[in-house]
Assembly symmetry: C2
Homo-oligomer: 128 residues x 2
């Protein structure tokens, strides 16, 4: 029950669902997810922590960057694996999901340094 509940609670927020969807086959760095969601870094960090504790994503630190990916079915519990499959199927053709996927495709063309630079720029300009 505890694991099941951790999974459903992790899935019960739009930002987290969008994150899972957009991570998909990719290996994204946190700054790309921040950019896609349009939320504060601290907020996104918390969301990722919740997803990670439920086993729905795997994070790997590489230098200053943290990479996020979905677990393969052989490294996740059946519950996690099933939940991810269900989510994929349920969001098939969803508008928001498709918009996010398109946005991500754009982001993948830009070096992550550039993305981070944008975020710093945005932060500074709002404090002026």
């Amino acid at each position: 029950m505890k694991e099941t509940l951790a999974i459903t609670r992790a899935l019960s927020d739009p930002a987290r669902i969008r994150t899972l969807l957009v991570v998909g086959e990719n290996d994204l760095c946190v700054c790309q997810i921040i950019e896609m969601l349009g939320l504060a870094p601290s907020t996104v960090s918390k969301h990722l922590q919740i997803l990670s504790q439920a086993g729905l994503v795997i994070t790997r630190k590489e230098g200053r960057w943290v990479h996020v990916r979905l677990p393969r079915c052989d490294e996740a519990s059946p519950a996690v694996c099933g939940a991810l499959a269900w989510l994929r199927a349920s969001l098939e053709g969803d508008q928001q999901a498709e918009a996010d996927t398109r946005q991500l495709a754009q982001l993948l063309c830009i070096p992550r340094e550039e993305i981070s630079r944008r975020q710093i720029e945005r932060m500074r300009s709002c404090c002026r």
Copy 2:
């Protein structure tokens, strides 16, 4: 996204998960669910409303009694059907789930009038 989120949010509470599990193959009346969960009728009513709006249960009024059951796959969306299947599989062998199932088996041996009488008795005794 909206439907998906309604489902995951409905599943993100232990009382609601336990309800779905215990309804299972049965056609329960609300008073039986109240008894099983040990929560106030008003609270259970709200939970059932959330489950119902997500399409995870179907309620049918019959006289004074309201009966609750799971939708058949042919009358529910694929998302709902898949979510219920996932839930069943994930809670396979869960301790709480088994305890609830046992308790329900007991409750099914008692006429529902008796269950309601108990609830009224309990309410009165706590106000004395």
